[in-house]
């Protein structure tokens, strides 16, 4: 079986861990749990006749006061930048993280995820501004870890891209 390492990055509280839990276990917890360091899960996905095991590295939330350890991205087949559409600041921070990751890993496929689509959008970014940023990524999704919207599709696309 092929194994691939996928990293989830993003500011604190955007829902990275919830996305993984929704993807791996199919459940969502209202309880907020800050991830400490790295949390790793795995899930098997089928792409056509191929079976692929994704090892999802849920990397600690990053904010302006602390950087992130680029070593965690080493060997990753793809990484995902997650932002939260209820917080404008999360997009800026997410793009900063993306820029940092690109410095070390310029060729690794990257995906852009706007999470919490079940909640009303509260940020002031226009669609054009969002699209402009999305264009820098291999793919982009609006997801809801709570309802599960697009979560499966997100990882299916990642798997297709890295296989």
């Amino acid at each position: 079986m092929i194994q691939k390492k996928i990293c989830l990055l993003g500011p604190t509280g955007v829902g990275k861990t919830s996305l993984v839990r929704q993807f791996v276990d199919g459940i969502f917890s209202e309880k907020y749990l800050t991830t400490i360091g790295v949390k790793i899960d795995k899930k098997q996905v089928d792409i056509g006749d191929k079976s692929l095991q994704l090892l999802v590295w849920d990397i600690e939330g990053v904010d302006r006061y602390c950087g992130f350890n680029p070593r965690y991205l080493r060997g990753a087949a793809a990484f995902v930048i997650v932002v939260d559409q209820t917080r404008s600041q999360s997009l800026l921070e997410g793009m900063d993280i993306f820029a940092s990751a690109r410095e070390s890993y310029p060729n690794t496929p990257a995906f852009f995820v706007v999470n919490k689509s079940d909640l009303p959008s509260e940020w002031y970014w226009t669609k054009e501004e969002i699209k402009e940023r999305q264009s820098r990524f291999t793919g982009a999704f609006n997801t809801s870890a709570k309802t599960g919207e697009n979560v499966e599709a997100l990882f299916q696309m990642i798997a297709s891209a890295v296989v």
């Binding site: 390492k5 790793i40 795995k42 090892l55 080493r74 060997g75 087949a77």
Partner: protein, 588 residues
């Protein structure tokens, strides 16, 4: 032949001449153009050409290798400082890690040896190592390092994905995928948190230890080898891990370099990883068996010692019982000790006494445990003498010897010669220890002229003579009869009574004179008194023994100057037989 060579030379010169004639000064320019074009053409195809030729016959390699080696050699000689500077960070790090690993193992082993060198256990281990023909250090290692490698992981260093794993018990094996990723993440964290900023000197996790198990981590260029071990880990396990990791890199170099998440090339590494699933655990059954042999020997020794102690104690008790028992008459115990597992007793035994064996049997003593050393002797015991007399008297069938009130009495009839024989032999047997038996019921006949009166007179005279031989000695300044002379008093009383009875039959008066004397150690007056009191003491003792007081007269003689100082402190007896109402005594 020479002519041919000459013609070839001429042809070459002719061509040169023609070329010079046609090209003139343009020849050099033309040559430069051709060179430039050739360089361009070759530069475009040189790599492919070299690869093609190499694939075709391998000649490129043969040509290049000596050239490269020569160039490298020259370069090292010319630029050694630069090359050392470039290699140092890489080689230095490897050497440092290697030396560090060696020192850790060395110190661990040394600590263990020191820890177990100064104890009783170490002496036992030295003995066992000597018996097993092992070095002490090796034996200590085998005793100290009890461990079990439960699971082995090989992890792709770059991605943190698990390449392959083997487990001692597959059912209990941990989720290798997540463990592998987590370990790599932790290693990344440690490298990030604790490295000193030098990219070439990366800090790495070597070991993770919990209460239950230890994760040993060996990191290679492309792969990480991790083992989950329980117990006290022997240094050689780390060495084994290093060797396995190096082998893994050697055997799977290409799959590691081209890794894209596909683990199938590493499935064949099972046998390689199995080498790490070693263990060194004590085997209780075998240990028990070894202990069993030792225990049996120890038990046998304890039982033997216990048996010997028991035997020794039993013999001591037997010896003690013999020593404390009162021997029967005629047997005297003179020695008693334990020799060669038996009680050896030395005794004096009169022939008339009971056998020693019967005496010991009466004490419930096992005769098998006793060795008897007998020495014959003649006993002065009254019982033994009486036995001898009883045995001897059977020679005189005409008389019977009876015991009345613990006194012997002879009844029946004896001729005078027989009587004389009786008295003589009786004296020999008893050695004076027993008085003559009461003979008042004895009739002595004379074979020639039977005269009963004469016979009785002879007996009376004999008894009177015997009375004169009695002496009761006293200590200095003592008037009381010593206890040991009570028997003598009894004998005297019996003899007096016998004489008195015969005297009555003969119609004679008998007078017993009890004469006391003293030595010359005091004043004469004092000695008079002492001698009188001694005589009176004997008289009173005889009265107490049943002698008629009317026939006894006591008299103190005062001091008698005998040659021997103490021989005169005594009382002696004299019997006087007289016819009735006559003062003249009968001649004895």
């Amino acid at each position: 032949m020479n002519s041919s060579a000459t013609s070839t030379k001429k042809d070459v010169h002719s061509i040169e001449d023609v070329r010079a004639l046609i090209l003139g000064d343009d020849e050099k320019r033309l040559e430069q153009v051709v060179r430039r074009q050739a360089k361009e053409s070759v530069s475009e195809v040189v790599s492919e050409a070299l690869l093609e030729r190499e694939n075709k016959d391998g000649s490129v390699n043969r040509v290049l290798v000596p050239l490269v080696e020569k160039s490298l050699h020259r370069s090292v000689e010319a630029n050694s400082d630069k090359i050392v500077g470039a290699l140092y960070p890489l080689v230095g790090s490897l050497i440092r890690k290697s030396v560090s690993a060696f020192l850790v193992e060395f110190v661990e082993r040394t600590n263990t040896l020191i820890e177990h060198s100064l104890s009783l256990k170490s002496l036992r281990w030295r003995y066992k190592a000597w018996r097993a023909g092992l070095k002490y250090a090796d034996y200590v290692a085998s005793q100290i390092y009890q461990y079990q490698v439960h699971q082995v992981f090989v992890i792709h260093r770059e991605t943190g994905t698990l390449l392959h794993s083997v487990s001692l018990d597959p059912e209990k094996s941990k989720d290798g995928d997540l463990v592998s990723s987590m370990l790599v993440a932790m290693n990344d964290f440690v490298a990030d948190a604790f490295s000193n900023g030098n990219q070439t000197d990366e800090t790495e996790i070597g070991e993770i230890r919990t209460d239950d198990f230890t994760l040993l981590i060996k990191i290679g260029p492309q792969a990480i080898l991790v083992t989950a071990v329980t117990g006290n880990i022997a240094p050689r396990i780390r060495e084994q891990l290093q060797i396995t990791l190096e082998d893994f890199h050697r055997y799977y170099q290409l799959p590691l370099l081209n890794y894209n998440g596909d683990n199938s090339p590493f499935l064949s590494s099972d046998s390689l990883l199995q080498d790490c699933l070693s263990s060194a655990l004590k085997k209780p059954a075998k240990e028990k068996k070894r202990l069993g042999v030792g225990s049996l020997i120890l038990l046998a020794l304890v039982l033997l010692l216990g048996y010997l102690s028991f035997v020794r104690m039993h013999l001591s008790l037997t010896a003690s019982a013999i020593a404390e028992a009162l021997p029967p008459p005629g047997i005297v115990l003179i020695g008693n000790n334990i020799e060669q597992g038996k009680v050896a007793i030395s005794i004096l035994r009169d022939s008339a006494a009971d056998s020693t064996q019967s005496w010991l049997s009466s004490l419930d003593i096992d005769l098998d445990n006793v060795v008897i050393h007998e020495t014959p002797f003649i006993s002065q015991s009254t019982d033994i003498i009486r036995k001898k007399v009883a045995r001897w008297i059977t020679k005189f069938p005409s008389v019977t010897l009876t015991t009345q009130n613990n006194k012997l009495a002879l009844a029946g009839e004896l001729s005078r010669p027989q009587w004389q024989q009786f008295t003589t032999q009786y004296q020999q047997i008893t050695a004076g220890a027993l008085p003559l038996p009461d003979v008042s019921q004895l009739t002595i006949t004379d074979s020639v002229n039977i005269n009963q009166q004469d016979a009785l007179m002879a007996v009376a005279k004999d008894l009177a003579t015997r009375l004169s031989s009695y002496v009761v000695p006293f200590e200095v300044n003592q008037v009381a009869i010593a206890e040991q002379h009570a028997t003598t008093i009894g004998d005297i009383a019996q003899t007096i009574n016998s004489l008195h009875n015969i005297a009555i039959k003969l119609n004679l008066d008998v007078n017993i004179f009890i004469l006391g004397a003293s030595d010359n150690s005091g004043t004469q007056a004092k000695n008079e008194i002492v001698s009188q009191e001694r005589a009176q003491s004997v008289k009173q003792a005889l009265i107490d023994a049943g002698v008629d007081p009317a026939i006894m007269y006591s008299k103190g003689l005062g001091q008698l100057n005998f040659t021997q100082d103490n021989s005169s402190r005594m009382v002696f007896i004299h019997a006087l037989l007289t016819e009735k109402n006559r003062r003249e005594g009968i001649r004895q």
